[in-house]
Amino acid sequence: MELVFLLICGGVAVIASLLVIFARSTLHSALWMVLSFFMIAVVYVLLQAQFLAMLQVIVYAGAIMMFIIYAIMMLNLRQESRQKTGARISKIIGVGSLIVLFLELMLVSLGNNLTPIPGPVSEKLVATYGRMAVISNFLFSDYLLPFEVVSILLTAGVVGAVVLAKRER
């Protein structure tokens, strides 16, 4: 069951991601992107990370992609300029080396079965509290500092965005 879902969702995610690159209209790219994120959210669910899946939907599909689509519409990028710059040497080298990297990584990941090291979250813990409770307990104890740092980062991001986008009058 899990495998079937995984293969379907993973496949769709990969295809959608490819279409992000190959779609002509920027808006279509963005929409394929949304689909891809959705599928990744499903993959997170399969990995028992419902919280992450919902975050993925809310943050990526809901907020970030909405921003991007908003920007695309505001800039009115209906069709990209069609002229080709030709495959530059640097691009070919880049893509080539990426493909090599891809093959290497695939070999590593498919070849070796990684042995799990048991961490602090046992099945029992999850069963007693529920996944969300466990996550929140850890988030607000062990990971409090990173959490606060991230909030500062977000604030900085908001301030930066406002400063940048503010029209000089």
């Binding site: 920007a71 990426l98 979250v121 930066g160």
Partner: protein, 101 residues
């Protein structure tokens, strides 16, 4: 026979590479931005895979923080694109050769 975990990892790697290829090949700034998000998503899957294999939450928290960073990145990035569009009339990255304005 490969187990599920390897497939998750393969998916993560594929997404990462697709994102990287897109980031290299495309010139539209917004598409490049989205490709980077795909790379982050691939990394995220890898994190969660390991996390679930190891019964640890570290991977999940990593992804949560990555998402927060991505959100901040989106806000600032789009503001920059807007500004760039205002300045140059395009968001083609090849035309984007100013170091400061």
């Amino acid at each position: 026979m490969v187990d599920n975990q390897s497939i998750y990892l393969a998916l993560a790697i594929t997404l990462f590479i697709i994102g990287a290829v897109g980031a290299i090949c495309r010139r539209n700034a917004i598409v490049v931005f989205m490709c980077i998000e795909i790379m982050l998503a691939g990394v995220g899957i890898a994190f969660v895979t390991f996390s679930s294999a190891n019964h640890s939450l570290d991977g999940i928290f990593m992804v949560i923080f990555v998402m927060a960073v991505a959100a901040a990145e989106a806000a600032v990035g789009l503001a920059i694109f807007l500004l760039m569009y205002r300045k140059l009339g395009t968001i083609d990255l090849d035309k984007f050769n100013l170091l400061k304005w």
